[in-house]
Structures are given as C-alpha cells and as structure tokens.
C-alpha cells in the first residue's frame, strides 16, 4: 500500500493546509465573509467529503459544490421521457446503473422495470451495441448520459452503429457540457464565486482552453485538478494564491493526465456526431443555452428522440420538480443540503426524492454519508 501512504502523507498535507490557512488570512477572508471556491466535478465533491477536506481547511474558505454530477442535474421530465421510451413495445432500454433510481414525476427506471419494461443496466454503450447485434427484432435504446468524459464513448458507438448499418440502435441523448453552466452561474447575480477547481477527467478530453473565458471575461481563477486529497488541497492553494496575488488564470495542476488541447480523437468524434442544442434543461438551474448536445441530422436514424417522437423532438415539454425539493438551491450553493426540509427525512440515499441524493457524487448523498450535517452543526 505504498501508494496510498503517499497521498495520505500527513506531513505533506499539514504543509499544504498551513499554506492554505496563511493565504486565506492574507486575503482577509473569515467565516462571516468567506472566500467561495466551487469544485465543479462531482468526483471532487465526493473526495472533499470522503477526506473531510472541508473540515480541515479554515472557516474563511467555503466550498460550493458545483453541478458536475450528470445524474444529479437530470431533470424529472427527462426521466419521464426515458420511461416512456422504455415502455414502448419492442424496446430494450439500456442505461448506466447510476440512472436507475433517479425519480421521474411518475416513476424511476427501476420502478418501470418492476412494472415490466425491458430495462437493462449496462456498463458501456458497447454492451448496448452488442445487444442490438444479437436482437435484430428489438429496438435497443441507450440512455446517453454524462459530461465530456462519456460523450465521446456514445459518439464512437453511434459511428460504429452507422458503419455496421445497424437499424435497431438509437441513443436517447442527454449529454451535457461543463463550460455553459459555469457561465450561467457566473452570470447569476446571487452567486458569489471567487474561484474554481476544474474537473480532471473532463479536461482530459476537452483540454484547458474551454475555461479561458472564466479568467479572461470574469476575472476568476481556475485550477484543473486531480482527485487525490493532497492534490485537491494543492489545487485549492493554487486558486487561493492567484486570488491573493490578484491574478486570474487557467492553471493545470493535473498536466500528467490533462493535455492542453485535450484528446483530439475524442473531440473529432464528438464534432462529427453532435451539435449543441439551442438550450437544455438542468435540474435546479433551468434551461441553459448551448449546454446540451443533440445528434446531428446525418445520424438522425440513431436519435431516439426523433425515432420515438419524444422530448425536444416535440414542441411542448412538461417541466416539473417535486414539491418542497430544494435541489436547485443546493446546486447553486444558496443553501447547504441540511437546510432542505426533505433532507434525511423524506429524502435519503435509500429512498431519494431529489436527484442530489441519488448518486455518490451528489452533494446531498455525500453530506448524508459522511455526516456533514452533524459536523457542521458543531462547527
């Protein structure tokens, strides 16, 4: 376990934590008037809670948990549309396991499966392709979910289906991109964000330039970070140092994985298959311009929305969230999870009401699992 010891090195961590405390002091941030740093990626949110980084850092530094958990930002009407497709005759609906328990307005995919719909959990869109080859008389639909880490895999699968002339494979495309919601949050007058920890694996695909606008147009620093706790702390320190020195730049702390220009093969596949939607609905954030991807006309035969006449393919879509659910306010950092009246009572990881409680990357599930609620009361 040499490697585990390495990134749990208490001496190194102590050094970085001391430097963070000094820098927060130098900036003059205190508990009543903290510096707000948003970690965009749900994987970072999970790591922050798992290692208690929010407790180890000074009260003058507050983490705002960003919208970077694809399952958590999936609005209920999209789940309803997924269920509607899954319940069509002849359909085998395939999905990542994460999405099974996300509530729709009527039911989740898990409930739809119990009601008889042929819904199968897959690890990869490759598994959905394989089902399509082996079941020529069934319509195989893949629930395309995720940010730029998974968009290329769906794009390459659609290209493969086209190359094989498969006519029974289509994608219900819910792929979303990281930069537009960041812009939306920066444009929100109620949000106070002083800097960002940028996503590691998303950036591995898209590179660091898509974040240039954050520094250039909004004057905020962003540091692309890996997931180890020490690395995360170092990245937070880099953001704070920029703030204290009055700089706003895009820095890459994860350069061994994240090339400046991303992965060219992934980018080319995505550009070939998708184009931005005019707007896409995010749970808690509403419709955001150019934030979702749709399948281009040339691959229309593989687009489940067109094939089944559902979702953005029809004019009027219903919008709904459950009563009293405050996922949106948590997502935008307006309230902490425990301030939601449903938290821990009507909404738990076993029986989630809101999407933030479903995935281990969701802020509410992380709070619940690691006791953030109680600890914060004491603090």
């Amino acid at each position: 376990m040499k490697y585990v010891d390495e990134f749990r090195d208490p001496f190194a961590a102590r050094g970085v934590l001391a430097a963070i405390a000094r820098t927060v002091d130098a900036i003059g941030a205190i508990k009543e008037k903290p510096i707000h740093i948003m970690e965009i990626c749900g994987g970072h949110t999970h790591a922050i809670f798992r290692y208690g980084l929010d407790k180890l850092t000074p009260p003058g530094l507050e983490f705002i948990h960003g919208p970077g958990c694809p399952v958590c930002v999936l609005p209920m009407p999209r789940v309803d549309e997924a269920v509607e497709i899954a319940e069509r005759n002849g359909v085998i609906f395939t999905t990542f396991g994460d999405a099974m328990r996300v509530p729709g307005t009527k039911k989740s995919l898990l409930q739809a499966k119990a009601d008889g719909a042929d819904i199968r959990m897959v690890y990869s869109p490759l598994d959905a392709l394989d089902l399509a080859r082996r079941n020529p008389n069934r319509d195989i639909v893949f629930f395309g979910l995720g940010f730029e880490t998974t968009t290329p895999s769906t794009a390459l699968s659609i290209q493969q289906a086209a190359a094989e002339r498969l006519t029974n494979f289509s994608v219900f495309c819910n792929h979303i991109t990281v930069p537009p919601p960041i812009k939306a949050l920066l444009d929100d007058p109620f949000m106070i964000l002083d800097g960002f920890v940028g996503p590691g694996h998303v950036s591995m695909v898209i590179g660091t330039h898509p974040y240039d606008f954050i520094a250039r147009d909004y004057g905020k620093p962003i540091v692309v970070a890996g997931f180890e706790p020490l690395v995360l702390l170092q990245s937070v320190l880099m953001v704070l140092t920029q703030i204290s020195e009055g700089r706003a730049e895009v820095e890459n702390q994860y350069a061994r994985i994240v090339p400046e220009h991303g992965n060219p093969i992934s980018i080319a596949a995505c550009n070939d298959v998708y184009e931005p939607r005019d707007s896409f609905e995010w749970r808690g954030l509403g419709e955001i311009d150019k934030s979702g991807l749709k399948i281009r006309e040339k691959y229309a035969a593989f687009d489940a929305e067109r094939k089944f006449g559902i979702g953005y393919a029809i004019a009027s879509r219903a919008l709904a969230e459950p009563d009293g659910c405050r996922c949106g306010d948590v997502m935008t950092g307006r309230i902490k999870p425990r301030a939601c009246p449903k938290f821990g009572r009507d909404c738990t990881p076993e029986a989630p009401l809101g999407a933030l409680m479903v995935s281990s990357e969701g802020a509410c599930a992380a709070y619940y699992q690691y006791g953030g609620a109680q600890l914060e009361d004491v603090a």
């Binding site: 598994d127 998974t150 895999s153 493969q160 591995m204 061994r256």
Partner: protein
C-alpha cells in the same frame, strides 16, 4: 461515470472496431481504444499499456504508478467495487449466448 478506472491492455480483440481486451482488478473485458490508438501504427503497440477506462472506452494512457494511485483512490472512495461489479455483470451478459 466521472472517474475513470485504470486497466491494463492485454490483447487486441478487433483491429477494425478498435477493440482491445483489458484487465481491471482480475476482470477482463473488451474496451474500445480508438481514443488512445497510435497514429499510423498497429494497435498491437498498445499491449502492455495502462489506460484510464471510462464506460468501456480507454480515454488516456497512463503509467503504472498513476494507475496504482488511481485504483487505490477509487477503492478508498468506495467507487472501485461498484465499477468492477458493473463491468463483471455486463461482461457476463455479453459472453452469454
């Protein structure tokens, strides 16, 4: 979905479809290696390399130390087991007639 899991490319399964066999913590399954394919060279060059795998696609080549660190982290976060189970289940389903 967010965090890739490290795996070792052990064989090339299908040059045209750009599929390779990778081993992740004792589970072997097919993954697509298009995104890490070497330019103008056979895929066989990848055999023995470590890669970060996202939903069945190799997205980045990494060294062995990075692979070990990432796997240890995923285990600590409790993410590795679910990922490997999902992979095992799907691998089983694909192999079954």
């Amino acid at each position: 979905m967010c965090l890739g899991i490290p795996g070792r490319i052990v064989a090339i399964a299908d040059e045209t479809r750009k599929l390779a066999l990778i081993e992740i913590s004792g589970v072997t399954r097919e993954v697509n290696v298009a995104c890490v394919a070497p330019q103008d060279e056979p895929l066989a060059k990848l055999v023995g390399s470590w890669a970060l795998i996202h939903v069945g696609f190799a997205m980045s080549l990494i060294d062995e130390e990075e692979a070990a660190k990432t796997l240890a982290l995923l285990i600590e976060l409790g993410e590795a087991q679910a990922e490997i189970e999902a992979m095992r289940a799907s691998a089983g389903e694909v192999v079954a007639p």
